[in-house]
């Protein structure tokens, strides 16, 4: 098709949106509301993921040394730890340091520990941080197998729970997003069906004077896409503004909650809602007009 025909079709789409002003506003609002929820779900999921990440980063492996380990064996273990993939960093905690820490923890009740200095039952240990929480159990196994390591300990249950939560969240948000997408397509299809129905005579005339299906369809698809993209961008922008506000409020009153920075998530939210709007508008209009083209 030549460019003047495309221009004509675009003009038709805009004219129709203007003519059915009420419908246009209604559909844009519908799309906007659905995509607003979608954007909110996405933002929320990002924050849960971040929360889990922060919590996971604090989990570490503690590997207790056997009392028999001497200077040389200690250095050998340190060399071996450096070789193990997945270990981000480790720190050696000597018996003395362990005792020191314990005293600190007891604080003013330090008196309870009187006399313990001479025996010091605390073993020396390594505190190991891993690169990925999912590597925890693997690294723990490997470290435990080293000679000179008596016992390995990490908060297995906490880690498992965190992994479960993030996985469930991811799955749940996919469900919500797909469900919302279907609902929105349905709503858009319905509004476009109404416009198409209102224009069925016009469509029939177009077809009778020799218009191809595409010449009828393209303006209607453009119409749907315009509705979708405007609703999507509006939803994205509202989301961005609201999240920026939430971030500001929460981070000043509850700074210990690790929220995702607005600039890290807002662009993605806008892209997602606008993109979803386009797809939804396109699918919605194609689905709704099939019947009316059979002339």
């Amino acid at each position: 098709m030549r460019s003047s025909t495309w221009a004509y079709m675009a003009g038709e789409a805009l004219a129709s949106l203007r003519r059915n002003r009420f419908m246009t506003i209604a559909s844009i609002t519908t799309v906007m509301l659905c995509l607003l929820v979608l954007g909110a779900v996405y933002t929320f999921t990002c924050n849960v993921a971040k929360l889990a990440e922060v919590a996971e980063a604090q989990v570490e492996i503690r590997a207790y040394l056997s009392p028999k380990v001497d200077e040389k064996a200690l250095r050998a273990i340190q060399e071996q730890l450096k070789q193990i993939p997945g270990i981000q960093s480790f720190e050696y905690i000597s018996k003395e340091k362990a005792l020191e820490r314990m005293k600190q923890q007891f604080g003013d009740k330090e008196g309870l520990l009187d006399g313990i200095d001479k025996i010091n039952p605390l073993p020396a240990s390594f505190e190991i941080k891993v690169a990925e929480p999912s590597m925890l159990s693997g690294v723990a196994e490997t470290v435990k197998a080293l000679s000179g390591i008596d016992e390995v300990d990490y908060q297995k249950e906490l880690v498992d729970k965190l992994l479960l939560v993030t996985r469930t969240m991811r799955f749940g948000s996919v469900l919500v997003v797909v469900g919302l997408g279907v609902v929105t397509i349905f709503l858009i299809a319905n509004t476009i069906r109404l416009t198409v129905y209102a224009r069925r005579k016009e469509i029939a005339i177009m077809k009778l004077v020799g218009a191809t299906d595409s010449l009828v369809r393209i303006p209607l698809v453009l119409e749907g896409v315009l509705l979708g993209v405007v609703g999507g961008i509006a939803a994205g922008l509202i989301n961005n503004v609201v999240y920026a506000y939430v971030f500001k409020t929460v981070s000043s009153s509850m700074p210990f909650i690790p929220l995702v920075l607005p600039q890290a998530v807002n662009g993605k939210v806008l892209a997602i809602t606008a993109g979803a709007g386009i797809v939804i508008g396109m699918v919605g209009s194609v689905v709704s007009m099939r019947r009316f083209l059979r002339i």
Partner: protein, 229 residues
């Protein structure tokens, strides 16, 4: 070259089991002017609709130019329709567009250039005598004027064939005469013209070929005939 239009044993039964046409055999040559007459419900509109593919025969074949309309694929249908100009009994004009746009519309669907539209539309409006109404919308026109717009739209693509279904349905005799004169002019320029009509006086006056239908059966076919119902 064979005839422009050929109906071979055409029968049309609508979904409600109403038989509109029965065993029609008919040939129309290029350049002919043909009246289709018959009482209301005789099947005139049904016959015309099968020429431009709005309805399809239940059995039999309809051939138009090089197309077998009875078996035409959906994708090709628009191209058949573009080579046929149709004047509908109820005009079928787009209500929210100007006369110019209504006529230009039939050109646009053919992916015509802007230039072609700017040249061709005024020429056709001039031919049909409604150039001064270019910027009016259909509801600002009289019935006769609307019929001329409809005719202009049918002619704008330079069709090989013009099909008109009761083009003077509710027009006064003078206006009707004007429309028929126009149809005759179009025919003189080489376009084949087929007109379904009840306008007895005009049919009798013009002495063209008259095909008469009765209850879906081809009742008569006279070369220089007069109106029969």
């Amino acid at each position: 070259m064979g005839p422009l239009i050929r109906f071979v044993d055409v029968t049309k039964v609508y979904e409600n089991n109403c038989t509109a046409l029965r065993g029609i055999n008919l040939s129309i040559e290029k350049g002919e002017f043909v009246f289709i007459t018959g009482a209301s419900g005789a099947g005139k509109s049904t016959l015309l609709k099968m020429i431009y593919g709005e309805e399809f025969p239940t059995s039999g074949r309809v051939i138009v130019d090089s197309w077998d309309v009875s078996k035409i694929p959906r994708k090709k249908l628009p191209y058949l329709r573009r080579s046929i100009g149709v004047v509908f009994q109820d005009f079928k004009l787009l209500p929210d567009r100007t006369v110019f746009e209504n006529v230009a519309f039939a050109l646009r669907v053919t992916d015509a250039s802007r230039l072609a539209i700017r040249r061709r539309v005024p020429a056709v409006l001039e031919l049909c005598g409604i150039k001064d109404k270019s910027n009016c919308r259909p509801d600002e026109l009289s019935g006769g004027e609307q019929q001329r717009v409809s005719l202009a739209r049918a002619l704008v693509n330079n069709p090989i064939l013009l099909v008109a279904d009761e083009p003077t349905g509710n027009l006064d005799p003078d206006t009707a005469r004007g429309i028929f004169a126009l149809l005759e002019d179009v025919n003189d320029m080489g376009t084949t013209v087929i007109v379904a009509t009840h306008a007895q006086a005009m049919v009798d006056h013009m002495r063209k070929r008259v095909v008469t239908l009765r209850d879906g059966i081809l009742q008569g076919d006279e070369a220089r005939g007069i109106y029969r119902a």
